[in-house]
Symmetry: C2
Amino acid sequence: MVKITDVAKKAGVSVATVSRVINRRGNVRKSTEQKVLEAIKELNYIPNFSARSLKTEKTLTIGMIVPDITNPFFPIVFRGAESVVKQEDYTIILCNTFEDEYEEMRYLSILEAKKVDGILLIKAPGRSGNEQYMEKLNTLPIPIVYLDRLPKLQDIPAVVADNIGGGYAATTHLLKLGHRKIAIITVQYPLTVHLERLQGYVNSLRDHNISINKSYIKKGIPTIEEGISLGHSLLSMKDRPTAIFVTNHKMTIGIMRALEIAALECPKDISVVGYDDFDWESVFHPRLTVVAQPAYQMGETAAWLLIKILRDGVDDLPNKKVILSPELKIRESCGIYCQSKSKLKMP
Amino acid sequence: MVKITDVAKKAGVSVATVSRVINRRGNVRKSTEQKVLEAIKELNYIPNFSARSLKTEKTLTIGMIVPDITNPFFPIVFRGAESVVKQEDYTIILCNTFEDEYEEMRYLSILEAKKVDGILLIKAPGRSGNEQYMEKLNTLPIPIVYLDRLPKLQDIPAVVADNIGGGYAATTHLLKLGHRKIAIITVQYPLTVHLERLQGYVNSLRDHNISINKSYIKKGIPTIEEGISLGHSLLSMKDRPTAIFVTNHKMTIGIMRALEIAALECPKDISVVGYDDFDWESVFHPRLTVVAQPAYQMGETAAWLLIKILRDGVDDLPNKKVILSPELKIRESCGIYCQSKSKLKMP
DNA sequence: ATGAAAGCGCTAACAT
DNA sequence: ATGTTAGCGCTTTCAT
């Protein structure tokens, strides 16, 4: 391995000078800089990050903790974050927690040991009995920007989507189509995103003077299988809903499967609004009407925020929390409900 | 920051002893070990990886370079790799190249500087005029395991899928259904995977004595838009194919879109076989018949191979290249072609 | 079983 | 503008 002393020797200068040209510290004559650059190229010298980090306390790497990179929402967020972070020569350690807070804690310790400069954290659902973990999070010596999911902490840097607004938009759309029996399928984890989407649903119903039917509110874990079984329970009700709002992508797939099994057509027999917008959803049938989140932008913004904090500190941040707006994409999975004829029509 | 000397002081031992217990080097009396462990816990000591790496030349991190994490195939591979790598306490730096070899080169230099212990490389397509890069790759001081896409190098550690077999299976399936006018849409990049899938298509046609119609072979870039336009050109032919095999997921979405625009139904009017199997494909319509790759297993296997190399070196590896088999998942996007009646029927 | 001490490759304060 | 040198926190050899 070639090191800085080798370069210095070859160029006929001291290591300090070499270091200066590597780090563009200035105070180097043009001609000596040239010599050094040549030596570097000839020897194929690459500075050793570990050594540099030991001294500077900077690693130029940030950690990103995601619940499930297999959920297509997160790769988009990742790319958004990477696109801004790479401009500052940062690199990302990606950690998958499988929605397990203990796994998250484990990764956090590792990231702390590896001295990443900052962390982009999309939290796993909190475990009861694990509350002291939040304190630890709050006092971690590494800057954290929370992404998508907001923990119960005051005044922390975070980038989230307006989930209440998303839930409200979805429900209101269904209401305007004439639906009155609107169910919601959401995730049982104590996660802000799902709680808020439910809140948006409730708000919309309230605002439109529709009473809330608790049996229309179903919660479960975010898997296809759960979507199927929750779908079944909804579809087999006597007073079956005419529309379903699903706040999770995988459960939406499950619902669609449940509809098929029950030989129900969407949107003819029942309307569905999903969450998150992926490329195939606008092509395959039924084309899903969904609340689309600005995933890429969320990643970008969070990364940008983190870098800003890394540079200037947290304290003089005007607003620590930024909220991005989702967008309702109206496609074909919702039909008009005509009360008089007691059936559904296409819009 | 609490460091090893602090722990030593608190426990009343030397730093050497602390280091021994941390690294489980043995030769420490049970009682002293206990003291050290307590000190570590009380002080909340976390060893500094940078310092350790500087000394040991190991970073316990590996780099993974992927062309596009937004392609749902790669997150699955990532998870597979992570699942084995984490058992050995490695962490993964994920790098997205956007299918750009220059971007890949840039990341490779960074990974080299950061002294990752090994690299999982899913190559971007090679650029002409950039051939000397392969030499550099070959002499990199960091072990590389190639994944999915095989570069033109001899005898390198690699984990790939049997793409010839995949292309053969897809084409043969169509043939058995009675199709004779089978088109293929594939990716124009010089990538083994697509070249081989095309080869499988050709082989199958040859083996069944069907002459190859060059105008049925379309190549383009792997995007939805390109799928649409290539689809158009195929569908507007006088002698339009009765079946299309698409070797890329995004282009498959594009094809389905093109079918809709042309008011053609799948599988009634035309059959389609795609590549890669994602959860929604078995629910939304038309349910795609696809060649499913063992993505997770590919990630696992590659990571396992890399770790083995990290431990034992490359040289005494029995077989450096492992080939995993894909599986044809037959669903509903292919119909039977009845030549006599000159139309398609469902199977 | 334990400790003292020499580096690992680099940066930066200080000297010139 | 350039050089000398003291660490950064850790592992490991060599004594004891």
